[in-house]
Amino acid sequence: MDVFFNLILAILEEGFIYGIMAVGVYITYRVLDFPDLSVDGTFPMGACLTAVLISHGMNPWLACLCAFFAGTIAGGVTGFLHVKLHITDLLSGILVMTALWSVNLATIMGGKATITIFNSNTIFNSGLAMLLPNAAAQFRVVILAAAVCLLIKYLTDAYLRTRSGLLLRAAGDNAQYVISLGKDPGSMKILGLMIGNGCTALSGSILAQQAGSANVASGTGMVVMALASVIIGTTVFRKAKFMRATSAVVCGAILYKACLAGAMQMGLDTNYLKLLMAVIFTIALVGNQITLGRRKKQHVDPTKI
């Protein structure tokens, strides 16, 4: 069925692109236990910055890198607010998200709310993408998106196995332990936030190139999307020993998109889309608690999601 095939393709395309952000949010939310709301601001920042750079002729892959670095800076600010100024994690993220609205609109976009890059070179219509045979043209996006996503995933996995990565995991697990090692857990948190937001901005960058335009408002609700992907992924694939958590969250992103797309195909009124998202998220959260039983963490905080 032609329609079915198109649908799967679209789901995989989007799933892999958002999967990049899911890996980033996995680091901040699952590893560091930091609910980072700034992704609502860093996602469009990546998109807008990339659109501006590409429309001025920059190499699209370079633009992706720039977006990643912009994201790391934003993440660093969130970390600074939390670690050095002792602002709570939720509020730090909210502050950065709010500030980024203006930064994105006024500074990056120069006052324009939307920038279209239909006629510019993106990673999907130039350079590396042209190496693929013409017959595979319709698979260009999914192959490239999957490639970038998996690259980020492998880099993250490799990092978490290094000494620094292990220390990062320890910082999220038991900050006192990191202190006993003579290291500052705050610095690890800042590092984790930088990586997480870098991935998010990269995800926004690639989505803008796929959609052909960037809009300052494209970040609204991204934190829900990312958290849902992480939670769905880690819940559904909990028993799968062969799968690392990073793979699980990418699959979570794909599954989440699949649910939404499936619902729309079945004729769901777009008015109910947000309700559906909330329902899926709730099911994932409840499922998470049920399969987990008592959480491994010693001190269960009822206010934590």
């Binding site: 198109n6 995989l12 408002a217």
Partner: protein, 342 residues
């Protein structure tokens, strides 16, 4: 390992979708009929309307009329898959991708954000996109030029008659000095209109004071803040967010005792004082006619020039006029008159 992962993922998703596909294919036979429509003459199109407000609603009505006049009546030889994005770009993207996957004969898009989403989703497939109520198709890169689109898009553009509007404001309020403009910062049309408007307004001796808002919840406070800046009246553009929340804006203006000039007849019916109104129904109808031509195969989207509306009809609200204690200027004695619904 990458192939392994892809395989597992695809397998999982495929399995999850067998049921969906079964029900989906079964219930909406019309969507699968799209690929065989060329032979039967029946067409299926998708339509994305960006938001629900009167101008865009009028566009859609006109669009259907135009299609009917061009030979495609809904229900007979035309099926329309209509979706509303509720004013959110993310929704528009999702809808566009969903429609694109269904391989319709054409996608109709009402308002710029919907057009951008539709084009982005169908660019590679080449499905014709017919847009309406798009202010600046060239700036949005939907077409290469108005006369010769050169892309898979064409449609109609609703550039506002700014000079006529400013003249109208001067006629109604001969002593006014400042015009307030409430606009949404994430709507590109509004921003480009604002710049043009400042220049045009200066010619009639007006200063333009602007107030940007970011979402629907800010319209009320934005309007109040704007009124407090000492403006003599408000002027609306085709800003989806502001027009969607017209009542909040009108309330704030009423409290300050100043009139609101709308951009379209429906706004005037709802309480704006007057407007140089573009007939959105007519605009939609023209677009529908163009769409019909493309569906019949008489023309290609890349060759059909973009239709830009020429005339504006002045319209005023009698009830509001009297409430404000104003008198009707002589040049608009023959203008279309409406009264507020009681």
């Amino acid at each position: 390992m990458k192939k392994n992962l892809l395989k597992k993922v695809s397998a999982f998703v495929m399995a999850a979708f067998l049921a969906t596909a079964a029900t989906g294919c079964g219930s909406s036979s019309s969507s699968t009929g799209a690929s065989s429509s060329a032979a039967s003459g029946k067409k299926t199109i998708g339509v994305i309307q960006f938001a629900t407000h009167p101008s865009l609603d009028n566009c859609y009505e006109g669009f259907k009329d135009g299609l009917a006049e061009g030979g495609f009546k809904e229900g007979e030889n035309l099926t329309i898959d209509f979706q509303n994005a509720q004013g959110e770009t993310a929704n528009a993207d999702m809808i566009a991708k969903s429609l694109a996957a269904k391989n319709y004969d054409m996608i109709g898009a009402i308002a710029t954000p919907a057009a951008l989403s539709a084009y982005g989703a169908t660019k590679n497939a080449g499905t014709p996109v017919v847009f309406t109520a798009v202010n600046d198709p060239v700036g949005a890169q939907l077409v290469n030029s108005l006369d010769n689109p050169g892309t898979s898009c064409t449609g109609s553009s609703d550039v506002l008659p700014l000079e006529a509007q400013v003249k109208m404001i001067r006629a109604f309020l001969p002593n006014a000095k400042k015009i307030g403009v409430l606009y949404t910062t994430s709507e590109p049309n509004s921003i480009s209109m604002l710049e043009k408007f400042k220049g045009v307004a200066a010619n009639e001796g007006f200063e333009v004071v602007e107030q940007g808002v970011t979402n629907s919840s800010e319209v009320a406070s934005g309007a109040t803040a704007l009124a407090a800046k000492g403006v003599d009246c408000f002027n609306n553009f085709t800003d989806n967010n502001v027009v969607n929340n017209l009542s909040s804006e009108l309330q704030a203006a009423k409290k300050a005792g100043i009139p609101v000039f709308g951009s379209e007849v429906e706004q005037v019916k709802n309480g704006c004082l007057a407007s140089q109104s573009i007939d959105y129904v007519a605009l939609g109808k023209q677009t529908g006619l163009m769409a019909a031509k493309i569906l019949k195969g008489e023309a290609k989207a890349s060759d059909l020039p973009v239709y830009t509306v020429e005339d504006a009809t002045p319209v005023y609200n009698e009830t509001v006029l009297q409430e404000m204690g104003l008198s009707l200027p002589s040049e608009y004695q023959t203008a279309e008159k409406v009264t507020s619904a009681k």
